[in-house]
Symmetry: C2
Subunit: 183 residues, 2 copies
């Protein structure tokens, strides 16, 4: 890929921020709405993202990369228990808009592309590090394996989204999950 000039880079970033906002709330929204919110012409959107699928993929990738970076950052914190449970809560809280984007992608007949898959794998790996550290610190029970803890993360995210839970109920649900995970 040829490097973008500074103003083109700015446009791309603005389009992505607008798209995350628009599609996170209404997966069936049009690319025109994204262009409007980003304050660029529709032609500029199509220059950077020739199809809606490419735009959706880029948005999903950005979100997964951000979560991965947050997990990596938290892995450096002293309190490994708070780092693990804090990240778990963040993933579940943000899941509604992330799932909306993933579903829009799947509704458009496309699976997540390579970049999104790579970011997702990076996020999972970083979550594994957080779990390891929390188990070594005695904050999470040692007999809980990665596969079942990750399934709980996916389940809590989907449960919170599917039921359209109020934040207070979601937090009480998470407390039940966390009590099952504590040593």
């Amino acid at each position: 890929m040829r490097p973008l000039r500074a103003d083109a880079r700015d446009n791309r970033a603005r389009i992505l921020i607008a798209a995350e906002d628009v599609f996170g709330q209404a997966p069936n929204a049009s690319t025109e709405e994204v262009a409007k919110l980003a304050e660029v012409g529709i032609a500029t959107v199509f220059r950077h993202f020739p199809t809606k699928v490419e735009l959706l993929e880029a948005v999903l990738t950005v979100r997964l990369e951000r979560l991965r970076d947050r997990a990596i950052e938290l892995a450096g914190h002293d309190d490994a228990g708070s780092a693990f449970f804090g990240f778990f809560t963040q993933v579940v809280s943000e899941s509604a808009s992330k799932l909306a984007i993933a579903e829009a992608l799947s509704a458009s007949g496309s699976a997540a592309g390579e970049a999104a898959k790579e970011a997702g794998a990076g996020m999972r790996a970083a979550f594994g590090v957080l779990l390891d550290r929390a188990q070594q610190a005695g904050a999470v029970r040692r007999d809980a394996g990665f596969a079942e803890v990750y399934a709980l993360l996916v389940g809590a995210s989907r449960g919170a989204t599917a039921a359209g839970l109020e934040p207070a109920v979601r937090d009480r649900m998470l407390e039940l999950v966390y009590d099952g995970l504590r040593s």
Copy 2:
């Protein structure tokens, strides 16, 4: 609705059993495949269920009614803890095919109809009775409210389905959930 003659009733039941099997595995399957498995003509299927949406709704309703009836039956058991956790496990185990049918319905642009909604509400109410009894028996913590426990049930079901979990991982995930729920 006019009462059905005995042979028409048999055909309807056979079509429903076949449809549950076919759509539970492949939500995009055709009505022809249902007719074939039920060993009836396609015209017979359309006589009972003029559209695929009506057939999907009838299948979803049958499944929800069966779960509701199972919960009501379990509410009479002596061991209220086993009844609650056993029902929770059954719902999660059966969720893959039930969700497939619900998604086929939503993909065909239709929300669940009145009959399915009523059966779903009956299932939720019966689950509430199981939770109450388990809490009174001291098998489930008393500070867990219905809303968050039901959100956990939905989440565990969706988590097990979305991740295509192996049964062993699903069972270990459920053990973590149950440890959080126990008194």
